[in-house]
Symmetry: C2
Subunit: 186 residues, 2 copies
């Protein structure tokens, strides 16, 4: 008997491969009837919102870890840079599992998820402020821009992997290097 | 009487504001009946594919211009860099109009659009190769990665503008500067 976690796991894998998959297709992928699926989630939107919630849970967990490390790093530029690099590489790992959720229009428009996203983005911006202060990140860019660029590069890497332009194992290095140093010649 | 262009223009504006808008909502935004809308486009997918086609038409136009300028620039690094900068700034302008199409899952999955995207991406990669050769772009990155990063930054800028984190007038400068130099301190 498929429990809620099984349903969510199978739905996520299917939606990553086909973001427009219907509830009927999700039920088939899980191996349950459409009626059973509807007992778990009464609409496609409810299912998407739950998947969006899980991706924010993961983001929050990563920020918890990074904030703890940043506290230990104090104002040491090398250690703060390492904290940020580890955070971005963790995002790249996570974005593979939560791929479709990055750009799903239903998830991006859900009020509760949007509100929580803002809270997490502010926590991330506090880490960026410390890194700017320590000379690790450019000070001429808006605090919240770092998060947007990181998000954009996660979307880019997912798309590049999906169509076969880069190897999955190269995604972390390419995202991190492009984020920090850009693609222009030094 | 609304013609096809009026319908497409109104649909594009509505979908940029609400990417999940239904055909009924599109008809209302255009000011026509649903039956009339269906005479223009027999499904929501057909409408989205037409909008995706228009965004690729624009991309192709921008590449035509850039290739002509690159031909004149020859191997001059300064001029090649200017060509790329102008191209990216043009993309930022265009992405405001075609915003939702950047990440629409129906558009991204359409076989004809995907095939045409690959052809255009290869033309862009040829410009990147010339710029790498002239020392304008990093040579340690895959040719097609430049296009992916640019795409990711367009998605990032659109999202940052949409939620009010950056001013629309700053989008071009932020995208270009982050693309070429990254967000890390030099």
């Amino acid at each position: 008997m498929a429990d809620r976690d099984d349903v969510l796991g199978a739905a996520q894998r299917l939606l990553n491969a086909d973001p427009t998959a219907s509830m009927a297709a999700v039920a088939e992928a899980v191996g349950i009837s459409r009626a059973t699926l509807h007992r778990h989630f009464d609409s496609r939107e409810a299912l998407l919102v739950e998947l969006g919630t899980r991706s924010l849970d993961r983001w929050e967990q990563r920020l918890d870890e990074a904030e703890e490390q940043a506290l230990e790093a104090g104002e040491d530029p090398g250690r703060l840079r390492a904290v940020l690099e580890e955070l971005v590489l963790a995002y790249v790992d996570d974005s593979d599992a939560f791929a479709f959720a990055l750009t799903d229009h239903v998830i991006l428009a859900n009020a509760a998820l949007v509100e929580r996203t803002q809270v997490l983005a502010d926590r991330e911006a506090a880490l960026v402020a410390a890194a700017q202060e320590a000379g690790v990140l450019r000070r001429d860019l808006p605090l919240r821009w770092f998060g947007h660029v990181t998000y954009g590069l996660l979307v880019a890497a997912r798309e590049a992997v999906r169509i076969g332009d880069i190897a999955p194992r190269d995604a972390g290095r390419l995202v991190l290097s492009s984020l920090l140093a850009g693609v222009g010649a030094p």
